[in-house]
Amino acid sequence: MARDPLLIFTPEGIHCPEGGFHIDPWRPVARALITHGHADHAREGHGAYLAPHAAAPVLRHRLGDIRLGTLAYGEPREIGGVTVCFHPAGHVPGSAQIRVARGGEVWVVSGDYKVAPDGLSEPFEPVECQHFVTESTFGLPVFRWPDRDQVAAELNGWWKDSLAAGRRPVLGAYALGKALRLLTLLDPSIGPILTHGAVEATNAALRAQGLSLPETVRVTPETDPDAYPGALLLAPPSALGSRWARHFGPSSNGFASGWMRLRGVRRRRAVDRGFVVSDHADWAGLNWAIDQTKAENVYVTHGYTENFTRWLCDKGLNAQVVPTEFGGEVEDDAVTEAEA
């Protein structure tokens, strides 16, 4: 007799009936396993949380005093007859894929992931399974990420050019993940790096857990704009063009996102420079990751779900679109002109 599937997709989120838990649920549940700290995956109001050790500081920073249990990567835990285990997803520091197994049946829920190492996040680890739940934020073949060195050269070149043109470079990026990675690409020998409070708060949480980041100066209302000639400002995208930024004089606005690959998006956002940097896998990365899992069944949760699913079906996989409430619109990369 066929058993019920190990994981099912419910209005609350991805659910494991036998284990009595949900993964990244979007409605309050008793027990939530969390892939990472972005707002669309780690929400308020669950009875208990389980996450990788490395995700704990960010989760506490975002969600406050929650009931949080943690596991090391690769450390199995039995929950009601099923075994769960976290494996690095390479998306942001502390992010995980979640392996759920019962006997020989193995599912992997990958949350958000990126396969190229970024020097900060624990590198993506392929996990073999029969059922793979994948995102497809950038699931179109036009998305291909340049390598780290190229992006670093572009960023630092822009920093110098802006200064030479008498403009203050202001770089917009999301606090968790993206801003951090940019820090590792910027060349502090050009000048000081000033950070917006929202960026600095996350930096502090991650420095506290031992990540080494270049020195930054937090901007406060008392900060004298003239005290830091040659400085670059690192801020959330909403700060681009804001009063906060105007305080520092004429600016050149840069924005880092996978969407910057598209000329139309660059133009609509009206930034001076776009940098192609994403915490999500590009087209080749998605395909490589799915190949590596050897999964025959693929569930596509968010992004270009229809196209990517059709592509996977063409390749002979049993793929289907699974509607979810993962957006990634706010905290994530997938910000388009919809964001004010």
């Binding site: 036009v142 043109a165 690959r261 009206a270 001076d272 196209n307």
Partner: protein, 177 residues
């Protein structure tokens, strides 16, 4: 083509007139004579004739990238520009140093009279030698869709800064022939 692509990127990246004029003037100052003339011609609306239909170019690109037609089509509908879509879909090229804008324009003129199936290998070969931005511009030359947001006024200002009116007259002659 590298310098021309860099100019395009700079023009594209700013909405400030002063910066556009500065970018143009700097480019015109250092560009070799024939590149300068072609740039003036292209930016003042003298587009080369279409060499290959958009549909055919799209099919070749899909084939080269190993993608089914429907996926190229879907990509195009999201990117919104065919030359850009093709530039982004193709596998990473090996940009060749020292092949200028005028080199590629002459290259295209050289294959203009060939039937499509003989143009195809020449176009695929060119794609391999260009990076994504260069390809975008190249594809626009191929499809006859070259349009860049530089007004005549802006162009004249940049020209005046660099060379005075004589060259402007030359550009007009070039446009007329």
């Amino acid at each position: 083509m590298k310098d021309f692509a860099a100019l395009f990127t700079r023009l594209d990246a700013t909405t400030r007139t002063t910066e556009k004029v500065a970018a143009l003037a700097e480019y015109l100052e250092q560009a070799p004579e024939d590149d300068r003339l072609w740039t003036l011609a292209l930016f003042t609306g003298r587009r080369p004739k279409r060499l290959v239909s958009a549909a055919r170019l799209r099919a070749w690109a899909g084939e080269r990238a190993g993608l089914p037609d429907w996926l190229v089509e879907e990509s195009y509908s999201i990117v919104g520009d065919l030359a850009e879509t093709i530039a982004l879909l193709l596998p990473e090229g090996e940009p060749v140093e020292g092949k200028s804008l005028s080199h590629w324009i002459k290259y295209l003129q050289g294959i203009a009279h060939l039937p499509d199936d003989e143009k195809k290998p020449a176009i695929l070969d060119a794609w391999d030698q260009l990076d994504a931005t260069q390809r975008l511009l190249f594809d626009k030359l191929v499809t006859g869709g070259f349009r860049v947001g530089v007004s005549q006024k802006l162009m004249t200002r940049a020209l005046a800064r660099v060379t005075g009116q004589e060259e402007a007259a030359l550009a007009h002659r070039l446009m007329g022939d």
